[in-house]
């Protein structure tokens, strides 16, 4: 199929439809309005349903109802809207319901800005809502990768009966890039949704469906949590993904995800011109976090130190330090708000660290 120029938000929406998503519930917020707009035009034409909810809270609970009824369903928003969805996300996790949530991150806290940011890493990977749960969090670094990850997002949600978040910075959502929609070659086997609430009577071939996250007895709640934790362990073992770029024998390792990882690659090219070998570890799943790959890359003998580069005050920075466990020095480059570092700034940081 020929490549075409497409805006990130629209590409994500189209990829979701091609992945079989037929239901979308959302609420307007910049910089992701192109997703609901695209869905409102396309979904009715493919036999699906787009509904603009009265709030982010209602939207995520509509997702809960549609998912519980067995549908492939998604919502999208940007940072402040995702905060509102967090109650619903915790319920989705507790009720073991699959869905996809896209967060095109903007600056925060509070109303923040409408410029790109990575300020929601903690929220996405460490909870956000209440209780011991995780989402699978996918972090594309290009529009093409966002498209490619969309099929995975829906499949992973169904396989593990969990909400999956695509966490992208606003740049991915608003940028136009040449993209290609490839035929999915390796379709994963998906479990049948025998648990869905679609209408039941005795002898219809399945148990009565109860979609629920309430377990009032300690033992039952423990059992539910054990089931979730076991599933999270499987996800960590089976689904962790990252890109290693130029890491073999590197002197300095950059750690970055999303659009920022691409700027890091430009900085690596600049450093190479000056004879400095710099590598990059780019998590594609930020939960599960690629702890082993991160540790192995940074703890090579050739590496003197690592630099985490983010558009926040240092959030993934904590996971990188945990992975390295004090065995190497880990530095940080980034600012909260919406200042995206340039390749030159990253190069300056590399030079500064080599001088030290």
């Amino acid at each position: 199929m020929a490549k075409k120029l497409m805006k990130g938000c629209e590409a994500v929406a189209e990829a979701a439809i091609q992945a079989g998503c037929r239901y979308f519930f959302g609420y307007p917020i910049t910089p992701q309005n192109d997703i609901p707009e695209y869905m409102s035009a396309r979904l009715p034409k493919v036999g699906g349903c787009f509904l603009q909810a009265e709030s982010e809270i209602a939207a995520i609970n509509m997702v809960y109802g549609a998912s519980g009824a067995g549908a492939r369903v998604m919502t999208s928003s940007s940072s402040p809207g995702i905060s509102l969805k967090m109650e619903g996300i915790s319920y989705l996790a507790g009720a073991e319901l699959p869905c996809v949530i896209v967060n095109m991150m903007r600056g925060g806290p509070g109303l923040g800005s409408i410029q790109a940011s990575q300020g929601d890493y903690f929220q996405a990977t460490k909870g956000g809502g209440h209780g011991d749960y995780h989402m699978i969090v996918l972090a594309p670094s290009s529009v093409q990768e966002a498209i490619d990850l969309m099929q995975d997002a829906f499949d992973l949600a169904d396989i593990y009966r969990t909400p999956v978040m695509m966490l992208a910075d606003g740049i991915i959502g608003q940028m136009m890039e040449p993209v290609e929609f490839k035929e999915t070659t390796k379709k994963r086997e998906l479990p049948e949704k025998t648990w869905a609430a679609t209408g039941w009577k005795e002898g219809c071939g399945r148990d009565r469906a109860v979609i629920n996250s309430l377990y009032i007895e300690n033992e039952e709640l423990q059992e539910m949590n054990d089931r979730l934790q076991a599933r999270y362990a499987t996800i960590q073992a089976e689904e962790t993904r990252c890109e290693l770029y130029n890491t073999e024998g590197a002197e300095i390792i950059l750690c970055a995800y999303g659009t920022i990882a691409r700027i890091c690659k430009s900085a690596i090219a600049l450093a190479a011109k000056e004879g400095v070998k710099v590598g990059l570890v780019r998590p594609i799943t930020i939960w599960p976090f690629p702890t082993d790959a991160m540790r192995n890359a940074i703890c090579q003998d050739s590496v003197t130190s690592a630099i985490t580069v983010e558009v926040n005050a240092g959030q993934m920075f904590e996971d990188v330090r945990l992975a390295v466990d004090g065995k190497k020095k880990v530095d940080f480059l980034g600012r909260p708000g919406s200042f995206v570092p340039t390749a030159e700034e990253i190069l300056d940081k590399i030079k500064q660290i080599r001088r030290a």
Binding site: Y23, F25, C49, L51, A53, E54, S55, I57, A58, A59, N61, M62, V63, Y64, G65, A66, S67, G68, A69, G70, A71, V73, E87, G88, Y91, A95, A197, T198, G199, W200, K201, C204, R208, A209, V210, I211, N212, S213, L214
Partner: protein
């Protein structure tokens, strides 16, 4: 053997209700279940239960059910109905759930003309959490968070949900009933059946507000609470059909 004339509806499970003695929830559960049985719609009904006293509704209604977050049942029901328009979808919500934290969700479900049926239990108090003031608590009524009686100047008068939702274009059938006497219980069942029928006919949003009692948190015997409902609630919350959009 004696000829058994009265049987429990199979749309209620055999689970033992957790409700307090004398509480109206058990009556309303049975009315809803009997209506589902009589309409022959068990195999296409999905219920959505609230946070509040009816939080364990999924144990009792013998249909597919979903437990919603506090106040969010109308949004959850919307998701279900949009995926399976042929399903009959109902929510069962209390006054804290529906009229306070879920006020936005219920108004907009009505506004969209969402083809669902809401059974709204108004007992003028938060039951599950131990008797706090609800948006429906009467002026002067003492609760654990209005220990001197609800003060109108401080927190307003109680919300009349049925009247409010009847003004919304998308609502098709709205009626207020009570379950404090046999006559009223018979009327309540008719209203619930009508609402389900209007949903099935695709007319729009339907809601039955049921005035019910809470002997435990009102600090009364069951019989006293029925009288209190009659003398105090019905005058402020008049019974009857508030909206009927039949073509």
């Amino acid at each position: 053997m004696a000829d058994i004339k009265f049987k429990k509806t199979p749309i209620l499970t055999d689970a033992i209700l957790h409700y307090c003695p004398g509480c109206g929830h058990g009556i309303v559960h049975r009315l809803v279940a009997e209506v589902i049985e009589e309409l022959g719609i068990q195999d296409r009904t999905v219920g959505v239960v609230p946070v509040g006293c009816a939080v364990f509704g999924y144990r009792y209604f013998n249909v597919d059910t979903m437990e919603a977050a506090h106040g969010r049942a109308p949004a959850v029901a919307t998701g279900i109905k949009r995926v399976h328009p042929q399903n009959v979808v109902f929510t069962y919500q209390g006054d804290g759930d529906l009229a306070s934290i879920g006020a936005g969700e219920i108004v907009h479900a009505a506004h969209r003309g969402e083809k669902i049926t809401t059974i709204f239990i108004n007992n003028a108090i938060y039951g599950m959490t131990g008797g706090q003031m609800a948006p429906t608590t009467l002026v002067g009524q003492k609760t654990t968070t209005s220990p001197y009686g609800r003060d109108e100047a401080h927190c307003g008068k109680p919300i009349r949900v049925a009247e409010m939702l009847a003004t919304i274009e998308g609502s098709a059938y709205i009626e207020r009933v009570a379950v404090n006497s046999t006559a009223n219980i018979i009327k309540a069942k008719k209203a619930i059946k009508k609402a389900f029928e209007m949903q099935i006919a695709g007319k729009g949003f339907t809601l039955i507000e049921v005035l019910s009692n809470c002997p435990t948190n009102w600090g009364m015997s069951a019989v006293e609470s029925m009288d209190w409902l009659e003398q105090n609630m019905i005058p402020y919350y008049p019974l009857g059909v508030k909206k009927c959009k039949e073509d």
